[in-house]
Symmetry: C2
C-alpha cells in the first residue's frame, strides 16, 4: 500500500491542470455578488528612447479589493530594424497576437478540463496581415490595424476531431481577447503635462 | 577642437531617437511599391499546463521578404491565483494593454520627432474595466472583453499643453493597436488534430 503524501494535495480529477471546480464555485459566488465580478486590469508604460517603451504589469482590481500578481511582469516593445528602430522588443501588434493566442489557449484547456478531455499538446500559430500604408499615412483608405488574423490550432487530445473543434469554438465564445479584437472597444485618452 | 568619433554616427537632428527621415523615405518608397507594404506579423503559442501558455515571436514578413527580429521574444501568460491558476505570467488581456500602451507611446515619440518637439518623459497608465460575468458565462448580456479602456498620459516636453495633446491625438490617428482595439477585426480560427 502506497504511503500517503501529505505535502501535496492530490488532484486526481484534473486532466489538464485547470481547477475547474474552483471556477464553477466562483461562478456561483459571483452570481450572488455581481459587484465582485467588476475587474480593472492595468499596465504602466514608460517611454525609453526612440520607439522603445517598457510596460509593467503588477496590480489589478477584482473581488472588491486590490490584487497583485505574485511578481511584476515587464515588457519591452519597439519597432524592428527595417523601420529604422532598434528592435529592443516585440512590436505592439505582436503583443496583441500574444494576448489573443494565450487567451484562446487558456480557454481550450479550461473547456477541455470541464468536458473531461485530456490534452496532450496544444499549439497555435497566429498570423496578422497588415498593410503598413495605413500607419505610414500613405492611403487613408487603408486601415492602421490588421486586415485580419488567422489562428491555426494543432491539438493532440483524447477526443474526436469534432470534439476538438468544439473545444476551440467554446473557447472563442468565452474569450476576452477574442471579443476585444473582433468587436469595438471604447478607448478614452487623457493627457496631462507633467510638472517639470 | 574635439576629435571626430568615427565609430558612432552623429545624429544631431534627432531629439527623441526616432529616425523620422528613414520613415519619411520609406513612405515615399512604398508609395511606388505598395506590395512591399503588405506585412504579416506572427506569434507561435504552446500550451504548458493549466491556463499557462508560452508564446514566441521571431519572424515576420514585410518588404516582400521574410524578416526576423534580432532576438526571439518569449512571453508567458497565465491567469492569476484568485482564478485558481498559478499566475506564471501576465493575463492575456494585460498583453492587449501592453500592446496599446506601447503603440501609442511609440507614436507619440515619432510624431514629436517629426514636429521638432523634445520629449523629456512620457508615461501612460492604462486601465481596462471588465465584468467577468461575461467570461464566466453568468450573464450573456455582459461582454467578455473590456467595457472600456482609459489611457492617462503624463508628458514632459518642450511644448505647450495644446501641442502635447496634439501629439497624442496624432498618435491615436496612426496607431495600429488603437485601431485594432476600437474597431472590429476579423479572426479566422482553423483547427487540426495533431497526429499522435
Amino acid at each position: 500500500m502506497a504511503e500517503k503524501k501529505t505535502e501535496k494535495k492530490p488532484e486526481p480529477k484534473r486532466k489538464n491542470g485547470v481547477n475547474v471546480d474552483a471556477l464553477l464555485q466562483a461562478r456561483e459566488a459571483l452570481k450572488a455578488a455581481p459587484q465582485a465580478a467588476k475587474f480593472n486590469w492595468r499596465a504602466a508604460c514608460k517611454w525609453q528612447n526612440g520607439t522603445h517603451s517598457r510596460t509593467k504589469v503588477k496590480g489589478f482590481h477584482g473581488l472588491m479589493e486590490e490584487q497583485n500578481h505574485k511578481t511584476e511582469f515587464t515588457f519591452d516593445a519597439d519597432h524592428p530594424e527595417i523601420f529604422a528602430s532598434e528592435d529592443l522588443g516585440a512590436t505592439p501588434v505582436e503583443y496583441v497576437l500574444v494576448g489573443l493566442a494565450s487567451c484562446l489557449t487558456a480557454g481550450v484547456a479550461a473547456v477541455a478540463e470541464n468536458r473531461g478531455i485530456k490534452l496532450r499538446s496544444v499549439e497555435a500559430k497566429l498570423e496578422g496581415a497588415m498593410d503598413i500604408q495605413g500607419i505610414l499615412g500613405i492611403d487613408s483608405d487603408v486601415r492602421n490595424g490588421f486586415d485580419g488574423i488567422t489562428v491555426r490550432y494543432k491539438i493532440d487530445a483524447d477526443a474526436t476531431p469534432d470534439e476538438i473543434k468544439a473545444l476551440v469554438a467554446q473557447s472563442q465564445k468565452r474569450s476576452a481577447v477574442y471579443d476585444v479584437v473582433t468587436n469595438p472597444t471604447n478607448v478614452t485618452v487623457e493627457v496631462n503635462q507633467a510638472s517639470a
